[in-house]
Symmetry: C2
Subunit: 350 residues, 2 copies
């Protein structure tokens, strides 16, 4: 980087004093310099590839117009569209995104937040937080922060989420309408707000249909992954051969349920129906095409960017929570339960 | 951001002079201060959430330890793993990634590069370049740059790519081995290096098997998308009812070929075999599971980060090109041609 041009280089090439070049380059002082000189300075700046030094501005204003975006893993297909939405939302206002992955590790997240703060980040958008997390710095909320696709139990941080309760409610209602009663839930780790909300929504939705949920009907996965879903669903099916439907906490977990069924010689949806959550790209293509809940990934990204920008302008405002609507996407993985499963207390023969 | 703590705040809380606090905070000058004072200063810094000011360092050194990563669209499933690899590769060396999407628009790219340069970016990793692109600034290559999954015709910029020629060669060889002779290619826009390399590799590979490629056997898509693939394959199939196999330039385009076949009442692989490229996540799940070429996305990301870091250290070094190996992943979308297609010159009846 030893060749990055300075204002002095620009002034020299334009044949003016540095202070003149500086005034010519700043829109707010440009009218103190003649048009011809402005043109000469701008030409010189362009020729040298001179970029106005934002590090100097950053030092002066303690802002960088950069926002830190921290997610568990970009390879989880729920995140690319959210991050794309965030980037577009930030760019509308001249901001840029610095991106990092934590693999869900709180210690990595702590280090990343420190590293980003050291780079004068103006705020954070986090998709990583656990239910009991505090804002990144809690000495008077120094850094504006918005959660996306996550929330805290106490609602102390601004957040943009999808309507998890409505989504799970729609899945349960679909299955009950098809005739299912013995419906199980493969849930996410208890520490993650998204999973916890969906778990509570499952219990609530079942209760609305007069169905109680026993402990044996729920398995908590270790992660939002296909493999964790496969293992959790396997254990669930082995302990509860009578279940006829599984509400999975997300699409990757649902695809894992497919594998667990296949391993046991069971067919979806003929033996067991499965629903997902998120409507991630490509979940229409597995066999059977997955019935799932569509969440507005991209809009969640845009909204979280706009919410953060509003907080950067007014850091003292009360935390705001935005819940975006979801919709059921009925494909082929949910159907009526098998005939011999009809008597509620009878165990299905296999 | 008016509450960001300064070194003065830290010194005040610790009850020492600012210069002492500064020396206590810098690892290289820490031993000039008593252990007790160091502890007091560090405690105060932690309590206040003080982060060493990298804007000041950035101004002094004209580096930021931030790299700009510019891609067409994160929602194309080839990119998340590459970007994740880049981020991990940068983090090994204490660097971070600033991410932006161009939607393939050169004007957007130009603006993003300027905006990132203004933020003292140390270098660029670009997955956007067209074959005829010059490095981001060409006034003596001011900003170290590495291309990933892209290359320039003249090899003037460092690049990390997958072995496109070997991959297409493997696909053609598989199809020829299965008995196909009338093999078509759905190619990418001519301006994009990845697509152009694969197109040339297709012509070469066919020639190696004694097969010439007529213009009618190739369609150039408008983009690397499912919809562009569907339209290009449709036009190809309408003009060439005798083809028995399609080598698609990537997986999204291949999935588009599936749609074009289905629209014409043709079955894959019974009527027409299809191969993809990239082995993007989930292409094993469509029906039929896609036979494709696996490229090492994550490793391409890591390698491009390391290559860029080496260039930042030594900007004068000659451009380096790294080509990573690929492998054929045989699934279900390629099979022997239909029996009635055997006579090479006879048109298949439908």
């Amino acid at each position: 980087m030893d060749k990055v041009p300075t204002i002095k280089d620009v002034a020299e090439l334009a044949g003016v004093h540095s202070s003149t070049a500086s005034r010519a380059l700043r829109p707010d002082t440009r009218d103190t310099v003649s048009d011809r000189t402005v043109k000469r300075v701008l030409d010189a700046a362009r020729k040298l590839g001179f970029a106005p030094n934002s590090a100097a501005r950053s030092l002066r204003t303690k802002t960088s117009s950069v926002v830190g975006v921290i997610i568990p893993d970009l390879r989880n297909p729920v995140f690319p569209s959210i991050v794309r939405g965030i980037e577009d939302g930030l760019r509308e206002a001249g901001y840029m995104a610095m991106l990092a992955n934590t693999d869900g590790d709180p210690e990595t997240e702590r280090k990343l937040i420190a590293a980003m703060r050291a780079r004068q980040i103006d705020g954070f958008i986090l998709a990583t937080s656990r239910r009991d997390d505090l804002p990144p710095t809690h000495d008077g909320e120094l850094v504006p922060t918005v959660l996306v696709n996550r929330d805290t139990d106490d609602g102390s941080v601004s957040a943009v989420t999808a309507d998890n309760a409505a989504g799970i409610g729609a899945a349960v209602q679909l299955l009950v309408g098809l005739g299912h009663r013995r419906i199980a839930h493969v849930a996410a780790p208890r520490e993650l707000s998204t999973g916890w909300e969906r778990y509570r929504a499952f219990v609530d939705a079942m209760a609305r249909h007069g169905l109680t949920v026993s402990e044996a009907q729920v398995r908590f996965c270790e992660a939002f992954t296909e493999d964790a879903g496969r293992r959790a669903a396997g254990s669930l099916l082995d302990d509860n051969p009578a279940i006829t439907a599984i509400v999975a906490v997300d699409d990757l977990v649902a695809i894992g349920c497919y594998s667990a069924l296949a391993e046991r010689g069971l067919s979806c949806p003929d033996d067991v129906s499965v629903t997902g959550f998120n409507d991630t790209p490509f979940v229409g293509t597995p066999h059977p095409a997955l019935t799932t809940i569509h969440i507005p990934h991209y809009d969640m990204g845009i909204e979280s960017a706009r919410l953060l920008l509003a907080r950067i302008k007014d850091p003292g405002a009360a935390p705001k929570r935005i819940v975006l609507p979801v919709r059921l996407v009925a494909r082929d993985s949910a159907a009526a339960p098998p005939m011999d499963a009809a008597p509620p207390m009878e165990r299905r023969t296999r």
